[in-house]
């Protein structure tokens, strides 16, 4: 890209690399800058003053600051899927080919139709949307809100998925330092020399802080040289890590800090396999906030005119970027620090139009300088600005004594003093305290382990910053047990800081407090008149400080104006609560890699790859992927496949991976006694080599989980849980074992991932199993009866576990093998079963067969049902205590009219039963008063050749044979059904015992 001449770039100087020119586009126009520029400094170097339109009034706005506190210069950065709205031009690093567009204007920045809003300014006052758009109420959603949103927009989101990757990482250190100015570097030196593990975060891409623009002398050398020497020393220390482009944005419990590292935001797009940003959680024993201070504006009419800029920002642009925001600059200050701008401007060959100083007097040295350089010093304040979208032309000065003066200038530097960055220290609800000599809030308390140092602590001189930072670094290292020698602190002069507070200059015209939300001084006065005096009310009523900049340049001025109009002091008025994050953090960074298929972990069953090869359709069950059914060519839908699978099992043999069940080994002499206390039925009397169905309750008497438990040895049980509750049951059992029953000698081991488990079901099960297990194993009804369980040897010598249990109602076994053999077992079952017509089946067929058999599952174990509701009340032992026993006996839990499990089948065999349909007595109008329950599980039963289901129905078991009505308002289906036994298939259980 070829850019036009950089009309506002100084011939020399600055921390820019003139050998690396960069081309970029802003609002479609081509410009040039240098490596080391920000977008803002490059725009300034090209003489661009107008960069955006304001939020509410669409007023022309320019660049106000040179840092992350910027309220005005927000742009849409990049294009397409990478378009990022509301990006601060003042922190966006320039790269070759950068594209940016101004926001909130139409059709163009120079000719913004919405600027007409300024004419209607009287209705856009504080709280205008509460007042103006009140009536009629239904207009709000349809008309007012969309219109306001269009008019008062910030940037546009890309609307498409973010193509970049974000990372999350942890770091640990003794001492964490926020900020690399003199205080931060001195702290790092002291802590690092003491032997502490140090991390220093700097949000800028260059280390050094204010001296990068303001220079100074440290240890007798220019600040730049001291910074460079310090960085060399820190680099040589064993464990000091400096992270640039990294903003510490929050502090949380236990010394955990949040930081966002903009790893590759300075490039057009991240290099391959690299992330764009990284979210850090940094655990630090001690932290030092050396985040500096933010220069504050003075509120006066026209203070938002492009070309009005913070004095420190003027210095940053001139010194650090060799870019001149104006050629003839006026300065409006109420403090000594603002005067640095005069030296900077004169040093760069710029003209000073005038210095307006609100203090009663200025020093003789300043007077001498003014006389030499030929500019007037005016005692007073700026009362107005002439200019518009082309920038400042003239300023009006109200002189002390009442006279007025006019000054021609193309830029106005403003300094209203400095506000320490008290965010981090206040994030645990700490309230900063007022310090009179600097007329600013400083930290009063901080989260445990945190201190502030330097300007962030209200110490504004270079000498004090170095001393405080060094002392804080040495103390923090000591606190963490690092006793090395910190040496001597770097030294510098303590320059004077004198300030006369000035917040607001009364006058005609809009005087902005919050630039980003267009809140004016008169809005604050209005809020006070209407009774919104509390700072929290003021904030919400006027939206002061609620924009993306969080009021970094506006909050204190807003409080000061409120204090003045309500006749209170500023400390009495107080501050609002500070909350993280300190700077906006992209949601993508919080998500990190946890998006799309990586949103959560995926668990694959041992036979997954084999099932994939078979063309299985998978279903997500919690984290698991389970084979749902195995379609075959020619089958027209899932129902046809599932029906085939069920028929194949009932008529021959099939198998299904059930490894997702939770599996727990229970060992110890008291294993049986332990199980007696957690299940409603008894396990201590279970014979070795047998399995038993078990049901456990919550302590409140409601059913928690079910499964089979086998006794493999006198002191060894093996229990299974449902897939969904696998982890929770383990946690519950550990609670019972450790907390409630410590006297029992029992140990629990989760073996869910250690065993692959398959259900093999159907009349030909034994024929198939004989091909798998060692021929010496007796699988006959006598040698391995129903509910038998024992270790077996498989062909080839592998040890497995075999359980004669049946969920399908067929003759069935479940076989466990070490998980690594699961895939081989599936393949062998297929191979050995080929002559038998073996059919793999999925979770759908599993579900069909359990409904046909009337077994309860998740839809019935739904957190509201008791054992009796499920028809399992007889399992509740009366001879022992167990979890949930007493509460299960509560009146309402044993009431005769409870909804209990019952079978349901449509009277018209062609009707399709639906889960969730309500059960209503025949002839009654559906409604809450006639609702008697609902359908919980449904399937198409190949055996009965119709849809059947289970339901929870009031007094259901007493009403077998009754015709009732199902009401399904969602699908508009209503028809008669018969209540029946939940066991639709083989009610006497002959098949599973055979």
């Amino acid at each position: 890209m070829v850019g036009r001449a950089q009309t506002h770039r100084l011939e020399k100087g600055g921390l820019i690399d003139r050998s690396a020119p960069l081309g970029f586009r802003f609002d479609g126009k081509t410009f040039a800058g240098f490596q080391g520029d920000t977008l803002a400094s490059a725009l300034i170097a090209n003489g661009v003053k107008l960069v955006g339109r304001s939020f509410k009034y669409h007023r022309p706005r320019g660049i106000l600051t040179a840092g992350s506190e910027e309220p005005n210069a927000l742009v849409e950065l990049r294009n397409g899927a990478r378009r990022e709205p509301n990006t601060k031009a003042t922190t966006a690093e320039l790269y070759d080919g950068l594209e940016a567009a101004s926001q909130n204007r139409w059709p163009s920045l120079r000719h913004d139709m919405m600027a007409v809003n300024q004419l209607f300014a009287p209705i856009f006052v504080a709280g205008f949307y509460y007042k103006t758009f009140m009536w009629p109420a239904k207009f709000w959603e349809a008309i007012y809100e969309p219109a306001i949103r269009r008019a008062a927009g910030l940037g546009r989101a890309s609307g498409v998925a973010d193509p970049d990757h974000y990372d999350k990482a942890w770091a640990h250190c003794d001492v964490l330092i926020a900020g690399s100015g003199p205080a931060g570097l001195a702290a790092a030196l002291a802590a690092g020399r003491s032997g502490a593990r140090v991390i220093l975060c700097e949000e800028d891409f260059v280390v050094g802080g204010r001296p990068l623009a303001d220079g100074g002398t440290i240890d007798g050398m220019p600040a730049a040289e001291w910074i460079s020497r310090t960085l060399s020393e820190l680099a040589a220390l064993p464990d000091v890590r400096i992270m640039t482009r990294t903003t510490l944005f929050g502090v949380y419990d236990g010394g955990t800090h949040g930081a966002i590292e903009r790893v590759n935001d300075h490039l057009p797009s991240p290099p391959e396999h690299q992330v764009r940003q990284r979210l850090w959680r940094i655990v630090a024993k001690r932290s030092i906030v050396a985040a500096g201070a933010i220069e504050r504006p003075i509120v006066f009419a026209g203070n938002d005119t492009p070309g009005v800029m913070m004095a420190s920002a003027v210095r940053s642009y001139v010194e650090r970027y060799a870019a001149t925001p104006a050629r003839r600059i006026a300065l409006f200050t109420n403090n000594e620090d603002g005067w640095r701008t005069v030296e900077t401007a004169l040093g760069a060959g710029l003209q000073i139009a005038a210095v307006v100083d609100a203090r009663p007097d200025v020093s003789p040295a300043h007077r001498a300088l003014a006389a030499k350089a030929g500019f007037p010093i005016m005692n007073g304040s700026v009362g107005g600005v002439d200019g518009g979208k082309h920038g400042v032309r003239k300023i009006t000065v109200s002189l002390t004594g009442g006279a007025r003066a006019e000054v021609e200038a193309d830029g106005l530097a403003v300094s209203g003093g400095w506000n320490p960055a008290v965010g981090l220290t206040s994030y645990h609800r700490g309230r900063p305290k007022w310090q009179n000599d600097i007329a600013a809030f400083v930290p009063d308390s901080a989260p445990p382990g945190m201190v502030a140092a330097g300007a962030a602590n209200g110490a504004f001189s270079l000498g004090a910053c170095l001393r405080q930072g060094f002392a804080a670094g040495a103390a923090a290292a000591q606190d963490t047990g690092r006793s090395g020698k910190a040496g001597t602190a770097p030294a510098a002069d303590d320059e004077a800081f004198s300030l006369t507070p000035l917040w607001h200059v009364a006058g005609k015209g809009k005087a902005f407090v919050d630039y980003q939300h267009d809140v004016t001084a008169s809005d604050i006065e209005l809020a006070q008149r209407e009774g919104f005096e509390s700072v929290e009310h003021l904030k919400r009523y006027t939206t002061l400080g609620m924009a993306t900049d969080q009021g970094k340049t506006s909050n204190v001025a807003g409080l000061a104006i409120m204090a003045a109009v309500s006749g209170k002091s500023i400390p009495e008025t107080g501050t609002t609560i500070y909350r993280p994050p300190y700077v906006p953090v992209a949601i993508g960074a919080f998500a990190g890699h946890h998006r799309d298929e990586n949103f959560h972990a995926t668990r694959l069953t041992p036979s997954h790859h084999w099932a994939s090869e078979q063309g299985a359709v998978f279903v997500d069950t919690g984290l698991w992927k389970r084979a749902q059914w195995y379609p075959r060519p020619g089958e027209k839908d899932w129902l046809e496949s599932v029906t085939r699978e069920v028929k194949a099992v009932r008529g021959g043999v099939g198998f299904c991976d059930v490894s997702t069940l939770g599996k727990i080994d229970v060992h110890g002499p008291d294993a049986g006694a332990f199980l007696d206390r957690v299940y409603i039925n008894t396990f201590s009397n279970l014979a070795v080599g047998k399995a038993r169905y078990g049901l456990m309750l919550r302590e409140d008497g409601i059913v928690y989980d079910d499964g089979t438990t086998s006794r493999l040895a006198e002191d060894h049980y093996f229990l299974t849980t449902t897939t969904a509750k696998a982890g929770l049951v383990m946690q519950h059992l550990e609670f019972c074992r450790q907390v409630l029953f410590p006297e029992l000698d029992v140990q629990l081991t989760s073996v869910s991932d250690q065993w692959a488990q398959f259900s093999i079901a159907g009349p030909k099960t034994r024929d198939l199993l004989r091909e798998i297990v060692d021929p010496a194993e007796d699988l006959s009804n006598e040698g391995f009866p129903f509910m038998g369980a024992r270790e077996v040897t498989l062909r080839g010598g592998i040890k497995g576990r075999l359980f004669r249990i049946s969920f399908s109602g067929e003759m069935a076994f479940e076989i466990s093998v070490p998980a690594r053999y699961g895939d081989a077992l599936a393949r062998n079952l297929m191979l050995a079963g080929k002559p038998l017509g073996v059919t793999p089946y999925g979770t759908e067929a599993l579900g069909v067969m359990r409904i046909e058999k009337g077994h309860v599952a998740g839809p019935e174990l739904n957190g509201t049902t008791t054992a009796a509701d499920l028809g399992l009340g007889k399992m509740m032992s009366t001879k022992k205590d167990y979890i949930g026993r007493v509460m299960a006996g509560r009146e309402a839990l044993v009431a005769p009219d409870r909804q209990v499990v019952v079978g349901i089948k449509p009277v018209d065999k062609t009707s399709r039963l639906r889960s969730g349909a309500h059960i209503i007595p025949k002839g009654r109008t559906p409604g809450p008063d006639t609702d008697q329950g609902y359908v919980t599980s449904v399937c198409f039963s190949p055996v009965l050749d119709q849809w059947i289901g289970l339901g929870l129905v009031e007094r259901g078991r007493e009403r077998i044979g009754e015709i009732v009505h199902t009401h399904d308002p969602l699908r508009g289906e209503d028809y008669d059904v018969e209540l029946c036994s939940p066991v639709f298939y083989d009610p006497d259980g002959g098949r599973q015992r055979g």
Binding site: D253, P448, M730, E734, F735, Q738, V739, V886
Partner: protein, 91 residues
């Protein structure tokens, strides 16, 4: 928040699961329905020091008794919860 597990050392909150008040003791088998009701449902809403059950599911699977200030999240003690919810012999 970070919890110093007596078995694993200092670990991050995400490894732990919260259960709640560690004060109630499970009543004897002979206890009345009212006593068990209190055990299951009645909890103090403490503003200040509270002993709580935490489960180190992401580590050693130990149940821990954590003494935490509910106002500041400051943790003053962590110990194994062995037997904390059990009736003491003779009680």
């Amino acid at each position: 928040m970070r919890i110093v597990c007596p078995f694993c050392g200092e670990r991050e909150l995400g490894e732990f699961t919260y259960l709640g008040d560690a004060k109630p003791v499970r009543p004897a088998a002979s206890a009345s329905e009212d006593e068990v009701f209190d055990y299951v449902y009645l909890r103090d809403n403490v503003a200040g020091q509270m002993s709580e059950y935490w489960y180190h599911g992401g580590g050693c699977r130990a149940w821990l008794k954590v003494t935490r200030n509910t106002l500041t999240h400051e943790i003053s003690a962590v110990e194994p919860a062995a037997g904390v919810g059990a009736r003491k012999v003779g009680a």
